[in-house]
């Protein structure tokens, strides 16, 4: 009695209503059932110079601690149900402004739309916002990221097959560019996450995928750009940091079944249906 079920077809997501959090992913057709959490955190950026404590900036990702983003006060979970789509709306805090998780009729993936920003920097700390999708899969330090939209390449945490890697930055040393998606697998299932834009991402913990969704930093990293990654938008001389909106897509398949979806749906993300509008008089549909 403390769970809300979302999705009316084969795919269902179960949320705990007291905490307002995703708890389980169930596909009744493929018989995949696993625990799943979707959480948000931020890395605080190093505030340094080119001589001491290299700063985090546009080129350099140098986190100085990880902080989970918990909702402020009671968690509000709004669910909209209908014949075509079920939606879950959440606002985690004033600047994780809106997260909508959707399951469309006949589809076996969840779509997550995020609106993040303006990232607060009043405390003098730049922040890089990430989301983590966590399952109980046993993935042996291995994950796969696309190569500029083409083949997925195997990545192993803290390891490069071409040289003896000394890891000084356990987070950024394992980050990779993601243009299409990232996946992990164990002996029975694979978790795929596809994106609609270029982001950074990794799998820093077995069974977990993380994506970096937004960044706002206060110091130049002294690598050429010459200014901090701290863009603002101003309305009537009132300025604030940027807000980003984007989507990512989550699907869990039996082992070996995910490649078809990644390839086909990946093309559809980057080739959306094009809409053109016009009008006609009255209700005569002909």
């Amino acid at each position: 009695d403390l769970t809300a079920e979302v999705g009316q077809g084969n795919l269902k997501l179960l949320y705990t209503t007291n905490e307002g959090k995703l708890a389980r992913y169930v596909n009744s057709r493929s018989l995949v059932e696993t625990s799943a959490q979707l959480t948000y955190s931020y890395y605080s950026g190093y505030n340094g110079t080119d001589r001491e404590n290299q700063a985090s900036g546009a080129y350099i990702f140098r986190p100085n601690g990880t902080f989970p983003i918990e909702s402020e006060g009671q968690v509000s979970l709004t669910i909209m149900r209908g014949p075509l789509v079920d939606e879950v709306h959440q606002q985690l805090n004033p600047w994780i402004y809106q997260v909508i998780t959707r399951i469309y009729k006949g589809k076996e993936h969840a779509e997550v739309e995020f609106n993040i920003g303006p990232i607060p920097v009043d405390d003098g700390v730049g922040k890089e916002i990430i989301t983590k999708i966590t399952t109980d899969m046993v993935t042996n330090k291995t994950f796969y990221t696309d190569s500029n939209g083409r083949d997925f390449i195997e990545r192993v945490r803290d390891y490069r097959e071409d040289w003896d890697l000394q890891v000084h930055q356990p987070v950024s040393g394992n980050y990779y560019p993601i243009n299409l998606g990232v996946y992990i697998k164990d002996e029975s299932t694979e978790l795929s996450v596809l994106v609609d834009r270029a982001v950074g991402g990794s799998s820093l913990v077995d069974g977990q995928i993380e994506l970096m969704l937004h960044r706002r930093l206060l110091h130049d990293d002294s690598r050429g750009v010459g200014e901090a990654l701290n863009e603002e938008v101003c309305v009537l001389d009132k300025c604030r940091g940027l807000t980003v909106q984007g989507k990512f897509y989550i699907r869990i398949d039996p082992l070996g079944d995910g490649a078809k979806w990644r390839r086909k749906f990946g093309q559809e993300i980057y080739s959306p249906l094009l809409l053109a509008f016009t009008e006609q008089d009255g209700n005569n549909w002909t």
């Binding site: 209908g82 709306h89 402004y97 559809e268 809409l275 053109a276 005569n284 549909w285």
Partner: protein, 200 residues
């Protein structure tokens, strides 16, 4: 009509600084402007092409048809003047859906509307299943802020819902759907909304 500005925009969209955000702010602003110019040019070419595809008889009145097709590049902030205005002034909204991929696609599309009691038909006159989703306060706030910030004006028409409906589009082809007002039963289903706060 040509697509030179689109070629420039495409080149920028593939530049490493534009992809990774390692450009200066004034360069980012310049990129955004050039992408916008490319989009505006492509929009005209697409409107012209769709006008010819939808009805070859339109070719004699080509200029007229081209000006009638509009796109909604700001759907991400729930802003789409053609879909919001058409139904409130008693007209029907015609939506042409083009599929640029080489396989048939069955998806749901979403457009903002300012009225409830709407019905969707396909080009054969068959009623299509549809759903109205109330626009959240957060979405309205995002829409109002960004329309003011980027377009320098008030958003005008007050939209109330997202209208979602199923579309089926052939490979490298298009389908046409007509949205009209209909207060009778059988029109779009309004979503059921549940809210939980903590243990409530």
């Amino acid at each position: 009509l040509n697509i030179d500005a689109l070629a420039d925009a495409l080149a920028i969209a593939q530049h490493h600084d534009a992809v990774s955000g390692t450009e200066r702010e004034h360069v980012a602003a310049d990129y955004a402007k050039r992408l916008s110019i490319g989009y505006a040019e492509a929009e005209k070419v697409v409107a012209s092409s769709l006008a010819l595809l939808v009805d070859s008889r339109l070719s004699s009145r080509h200029e007229d048809a081209v000006t009638k097709f509009q796109q909604c590049p700001l759907l991400n902030i729930s802003y789409c003047p053609p879909s919001e205005a058409a139904l409130s002034n008693g007209k029907s909204l015609v939506i042409v859906v083009y599929n640029p991929l080489g396989w048939k696609r069955e998806e749901a599309i979403r457009v903002p509307v300012s009225t409830e009691g709407v019905i969707v038909h396909d080009s054969d006159g068959k009623e299509i299943e549809s759903q109205l989703l109330p626009l959240s306060n957060a979405s309205l706030s995002i829409r109002n802020y960004h329309v003011k910030a980027y377009l320098g004006r008030s958003p005008g028409e007050t939209i109330k819902y997202w209208l979602a409906f199923s579309v089926s589009v052939p490979p490298l082809g298009f389908s046409t759907y007509i949205v009209s007002t209909d207060k009778r039963a059988g029109s779009s289903t309004i979503s059921e909304v549940y809210t939980s706060e903590g243990n409530k």
